[in-house]
Symmetry: C2
Subunit: 176 residues, 2 copies
């Protein structure tokens, strides 16, 4: 086994020695966060949450993909969360790519015989305020997301650790 696998197993053995199980499966602060997979982001820490508090949905960019919306519907309709936060971040990889540049990287890395279904890479082309606004709006307008769930938009600044509110993207209550 390579080193990383062994490191994970060893770290987990230590972790389990002082682990305390949560009493139940609910998100006790009744909120779901959608954010990026970026390695630098510690959303529980930068938003003040702990184990048992919130659902954390993460993907490349923190985008409101169909799958992120599947998770938000499960979170709210079946697991009773009632507030959402969408958090993109500065220096995001998805700002450096376009659908075309991703395709070029793939084409140069792959044998020409490899075929695959086209993918929308959900890159960020018009700035983070726009991408947060776009994603909050997409979630707000989904027919399976209750209109009384507030959705808050933020940008996390990886240089300062600060959350910048995207006020235009706040979509509270029935005001669709």
């Amino acid at each position: 086994m390579p080193n990383l696998y062994k490191d994970v197993v060893a770290a987990n053995e230590l972790y389990a020695q002082t682990y305390t199980a949560q009493p139940d499966a609910f998100a006790h602060r009744h909120a779901a966060i959608l954010t990026c997979m970026d390695s630098r982001l510690l959303p529980n820490e930068f938003m003040g949450f702990k184990a048992g508090d919130i659902h954390l949905i993460r993907n490349a960019g923190g985008r409101a993909s169909d799958d992120a919306i599947r998770s938000l519907i499960i979170s709210s309709k079946l697991l009773k969360t009632n507030q959402f936060f969408v958090v993109h971040h500065t220096d995001c990889g998805m700002q450096r790519f376009t659908n075309e540049s991703v395709q070029e990287v793939l084409a140069s890395a792959l044998a020409s015989s490899v075929t695959y279904q086209p993918i929308d890479w959900l890159t960020i082309q018009h700035g983070l305020f726009k991408s947060v606004l776009e994603d909050v709006t997409k979630i707000r307008n989904h027919p399976l997301i209750s209109s009384d769930i507030p959705i808050y938009g933020f940008i996390f600044d990886v240089m300062t650790g600060k959350l910048i509110p995207v006020d235009e993207a706040i979509r509270v209550g029935k005001a669709k």
Copy 2:
């Protein structure tokens, strides 16, 4: 503003006071983790990682959805990770639901006039060993995931904090 929003802003102000920026955007342990959005899971902690180490992809169930695979492709082809971990967990909400039961909850909560595209909810119907194996296999067989990336499968036990390896689901190297 409701209390949760104010709490997040206050917690973030404290966080930023002692924040140290990571030097760059890479995942320094060159790995990506796919796991569930469940509020009890602290994957960095239970696997021994810290800020800057790994990409974290999370959704309802930790399933290998098309969007999780989009993120894994971005992670490996563009951001140079070279190992993947798929981690499902005991007492997962997605084990308690079926596509049919989700539809029933939605039907009872929604006005009959609400229409929407059908969604595969990716519930877990045949146990966690099977769901981990299924997802590792799906990622392994995707034409845009390099066959030399090892993919490790685990179940996180929420009662003990321990990772249980799903040995059948380990897919290392070229052995497709």
